[in-house]
Point group: D2
Chain length 460, copies 4
């Protein structure tokens, strides 16, 4: 390759650059080194190791100083990244301060540094995701408010059903985003905690002051302190997966709707166009919805990753044999895919082109059938539901076979005419009167949004 | 079959009878009828339909009056259960009060009754699960407290690591249960809400009073009132799956540990025995851990079901074509499997037989290797970590090849002897001094448990 | 419930009655009894047990004689169905012939009867599925041949691309069905084999004649004889899941296409209508594609079940603790869902209504853009590909903004006009000349179909 | 990072270097370029494009000449890798031969080059996997033959059951490997075929000679020629996933057994040791089974990836919107994980250390209970099965409570003594007589292996 190519050819398509930088090899190493530096600081603060040792250790805790190729090679033998990382770190510290080298990783085990490092990475990643989710919420609120009266056919089972408003669709998306924001907040409170247990969770190697070290370390890293080490209980890790899995589902749902709206025959809403965006290698006229494809691909991939992480929870005794390593690539993959879908879909929604006229036109495509329920309900007040159903169902059938507008068929129907004077009939077939409580519902969601008044994303 | 056999031959093995009764065909129908009765009550209360109609409708809303075979047969045509149920209900009401029949299911759509019915079933199911989870917590607290000093080898990567206490293992289980209880509480608050949107979520068929009806109905059913109908946003439903999926993972982890403890060669803890329990069709000596098998089977099955429900979230427009029906059997299956695992594992833990002596004996099975880390840390204070590692690693190797106790090898080692006087060496090889902060950690979890003082399960 | 309701309310919707009967509780019990009867016959044939014993055992091997409720209850204690079934069978045989009772289940273990029983059920189920798949192939061949010239827009990324023929779509479906038929044939050959290993796969309990018994039993049951018992190697079972999982994916693909064709705005093809089929509980005009929903629901549910069965393959030693029981309900569920999707989709395709005129009309919906690639290729011969691309892309843009037909824009374009005389331009915009090799490709698939000349389904 | 670090820190641990090189960014680009070069050659051969153009195109089809960073960046806009790759290739060809540039990618579409490129990569990857699988088979055959008489306890439900031989366990593994080899052969025959369909599968852009081009191209690339383009039918791709998913399950099963054998308390078999292999960052005595962990991690991760690919089969019309992109990273991940597990596990088995003495000792750990079935069967010949069961079950209970050897309890039991003379009793408790048909079964598998006489892996 002419330029030193990224191993991850599809990274820019599927992922979000900012988030990817928090999940890559360097970030992983740095997070583990941050743990080692903070462990030494905490222990020095308690007088367990010399302050000079903590300083000497901290001075080497930079990912720039690590030979990542050697790390990867040795990890294949050792079975995890911590063992060779501690070895490299110890050697570097020893070169500068041989005594300090004796206190590297003091009393900790591989899982302590790997898991806490993961938590540090997740905190940064969730900050980024929270911020982008808020940007999505902002845009959806705009769409909900701005398109409160933009009428189009609601579709159930992919068939035109009754009129709705595009703003209500956006409000429904926003309402779901609110729940995801709440879930992420709960997840942070429960999941972003220190792991420090020593060899098998008893803190034995730290002697009687193990709990003090844990408390000081948690404070240093600004992480919660759990009641007990959680090395073999992976629900906190898996909950990151399930929470983001739910988010991916919602992003997929929004993307599916966009893709359906963008179909040639529907043509109601489109992703923004740009030079080189969504083309075809052979068809000059194509404008493919790339962001929708990215979000749908994520929604297709994430559930399997969630199931892998749930299945991997069944870990043996004090450290699982295959379950724990099964997390190491799966969780970053999952976070990266969700974040990528979130980012690209938010971008697309920010540039969304809505064809209000086509939406209105599509409402008229069924020659009035989309108003059948309205007619039935209006009749039902007079005739009862069953009779109204019978009348309107028959009228629909006639409208279809005779290729007439349902309005006109009903206007000719003696029973319908008996109960529905022309003005009411006209109103029943006017979408402006038939989108129900759409605006009131939009207002409920927007009011909730205002009341949430969230602090800036990621601020603790 | 001589007796009218259950279709569900494996139900008693895999499920919990009490919970199964909340998830079966009758409960499903009754929950849907409860919605219809409450809808009529709410509408009558608001003067939208006659009070006599509400009474006549309510009088027929009993699953006993429904022809379930016909229901199933017609659902195959209609595509869902609500259409034939409303038809049957309407016919029954009509027989008693023809006018009232006109107001059955007034302004609602199939999804309103199916989804809200599901929520009602889930509420009852989560009540049951909460109660059982509290029973599990109680038992784990007993085990944690009672076995705080019961020493055994911790195992990492399925190899003996260092000493721990069985009480700490139980405390770790309990700590995870606390988190699951919190998740379930959050789930209830967010997920147990009314679905009422009419044909496509605008409440149009209910005219200007749609929101009033929704509020009154939610109050009648003691359900939360969402900002907007959520028919095509399935995160609430999927969150039931993910939350229970996390629980299934923890149950599987506990079960895996029990199964490993119960191995013939380990023999540390056993499920209770009973006539006909855990036998073999050919081997007279077998005592199979049935509850562990049930929980592990659930932990193997549930992740796939979670992924199905996450994948099914990608639903089209205002009502998904395949995604929504994909939930109808999957979610009850998942709830039933989790509840069954929870119940059977709780039962097994309540009767758990712990072989304290065997645990102690297993600690000695490695001729002292399980104390290697303790010796290394004691030496490291004097020699630095790397040198201590070198000394103890060599001693371990010698202990293995010469088949001697590590204590004795170290006692003979000049370097070790220089730093570790005999009394300290003895203490390093005595598990009573080597389980670290196990008891303090147990106390932390038990204190949390006391502070939670939960109200009775399921009480709102 | 007024009639004794099916536990399986949604069975008729999601499953195929004929297949469901091969997978239900009775069929499961009967298959296990068939194993026990055949085992006794085989052993009697070899003189290992008395012929009278085999006769007495065989006489009781009818599911009608089994108390299924007791079976289910005892299985919850025993951990599997075989133990209580053997107990009931032994008691029944004992009542008639006490000596014979001593030879029930001679030398076999629970897994032998459960697994071989499963294989017998699977054979019958695969027969049924093979038959239905052949019916589907037949119908697809008809559609491929009959609609070879029915033109419509191909859609890529859900955007109109270029013209194709509906017959070619059907031929693509048929081509996939051919592969599924091949996979099923391979699966049968590899997977439908006897399991007989005794307690742990050594056949020890049968003494020196264990292999003879296995051979005779396999012959009696018309099953393959494996090289070794396969009790803890579940790839044969999991391959049923993966093979049907692939089929479910294809059925879902076909269903997705049908659902997209049936959209109100596309309206090209529809499922058959029938009284009560695909209605709505509130909207009188709805005609929902129920079979597509069923197939899509199966396609959403099956992948998770496949992953459960793959994950469950990791079974311990000579009999897995949780992995094996995890199969017991999952595999029949999966087979039932696939069969249901296959049956309902085949039915829908048999009654498919194709709107040839609408397809043609949709081809014209883009004002010629669907012919852009044809124009580009025609130009490229003269100008090279890049220049042709530039010309046609610009023309497309002009057509869009000026709302003109692409044909006319190109007719006015000096460069295009220079190379494309009016007759050729007309031909480029005539779908009859622009569906490429569609017919030749259809003929290839139909020729393959004829050459396969499969024997009647299920015939061995 | 001091050395330019691999993005894939965990690659050497989880993957197999040789295979990883066939799946990385360079290999992906080269495979796509191989398609473009071959397409030009095939078209030149048929006189459709000039021979000089084919030569000029072929001269640029080297991954070394591609700017991978630009490729990745543009793919994020374009939605796939083919569009920017064709652009780069065209520009390079144009620099050397402007006329030839006009014939790059002639008549093909993005999916043609991406899918056929994938098939070329898969062919190379399956060659590598086939070779390694044969190496695994060879080693398993050695173990089966060499350990045919190495006795140890079979374990069912993780409890000691009856004696078996370690050779039979290996034979069972080998038998499964045979099936996987067959599946891979079937997969190759069915799946390794050309994709060439043009914009939407009609080959329209190639005019009347489209099928000739396809045939020539398939021949050039030594790929099968399918009846129709398969761009939107992904069963071939998904079958790679399911086939390797089955393999991952078997590898996980073998790894689980190794991990269980290697437990401190069981200590029957161990992975090879090596400097730095399987250590701990804190415990100097640890020898962790790294290869087992790698294989179990793969077995935990692969089922979720399989389910993603099965779910992604539901692709819309002539090119799926999210389903197709969902394959692009998932399938290589899956292939890489399976291959890594296969390679590392094969390595571990090649160096496996078997402790024959410990296996024998473990057989005696139950004080004879492991022979209970043998005693029961011997008695049953005289007393009938039920009575024998009663006698031996009671004896087992007595042996347990009185802590005596089952042999001695039975020797004292009047009923047992009546039928089992001392010599027979001794023989019942001697594993050498109690491993049934283990050796005959081993021979069956070894005979099959010889009869297969496979040609060298990957040779077509």
């Amino acid at each position: 390759l002419t330029a030193e190519g990224p191993a991850d050819l599809l990274g820019p398509l599927f992922r979000w650059e900012r988030l990817a930088g928090l999940l890559d090899a360097r970030a992983r190493i740095q997070a583990m080194l941050d743990f080692e530096a903070a462990l030494a600081r905490a222990q020095a603060g308690l007088g367990i190791i010399p302050s000079t040792a903590a300083a000497a250790i901290g001075a080497q805790c930079s990912a720039d100083r690590i030979d990542a190729k050697a790390l990867a090679r040795e990890a294949a033998q050792a079975g995890n990244l911590a063992i060779p990382l501690v070895r490299q770190l110890t050697a570097r510290v020893a070169a500068a301060d041989p005594v300090a080298a004796g206190f590297v990783h003091w009393g900790a085990t591989s899982q302590d540094v790997i898991d806490t490092g993961l938590v540090l990475q997740l905190r940064a990643a969730l900050d980024a995701i929270d911020g982008e989710l808020e940007r999505l919420a902002e845009r959806l609120a705009e769409l909900a408010d701005g398109h409160r009266g933009t009428l189009l056919p609601a579709r159930t089972w992919m068939q035109q059903a009754v009129p709705t408003s595009f703003g209500l669709k956006a409000a429904g998306f926003l309402d779901a985003v609110h729940r995801h924001q709440d879930r992420l907040a709960e997840l942070r409170a429960r999941g972003l905690v220190l792991q420090l247990g020593g060899a098998a969770g008893t803190l034995a190697a730290l002697g009687p002051r193990g709990l003090e070290v844990a408390a000081a370390l948690a404070e240093d890293l600004r992480l919660g302190l759990p009641d007990v080490p959680w090395h073999s209980h992976r629900d906190r890790v898996a909950e990151v997966a399930t929470t983001l899995g739910l988010l991916a589902g919602t992003l997929g749902k929004i993307a599916r709707d966009l893709a359906l709206h963008a179909q040639t025959e529907v043509a109601e809403a489109f992703e923004p166009t740009a030079e080189g965006r969504g083309g075809s290698s052979t068809m000059p006229h194509k404008r493919n919805p790339v962001a929708a494809a990215v979000a749908l691909a994520a929604a297709a991939r994430v559930p399997g990753l969630v199931s892998s992480l749930l299945g991997a929870m069944v870990q043996e005794h004090e450290r699982g044999l295959g379950g724990w390593p099964a997390e190491w690539e799966t969780l970053p993959d999952l976070v990266g895919l969700c974040g990528g879908a979130l980012h690209h879909l938010t971008e697309a929604l920010c540039g969304l082109r809505v064809d209000v006229a086509r939406m209105a036109a599509n409402l008229e495509a069924t020659e009035g059938l989309v108003y059948a329920e309205a007619a039935q309900m209006a009749l039902a007040v007079h005739t009862g539901r069953a009779e109204a159903r019978r009348i309107v169902e028959a009228a629909c059938e006639r409208a279809r076979t005779e290729e007439r507008h349902l309005h006109d068929v009903l206007a000719d129907d003696p029973q319908a005419r008996a109960h529905l004077p022309p003005a009411e009939l006209d109103r029943l077939f006017d979408a402006r009167w038939q989108h129900g409580q759409a605006e009131a519902l939009i207002d409920r969601v927007l009011a909730t949004r205002r009341s949430r008044r969230r602090p800036p994303a990621g601020g603790e």
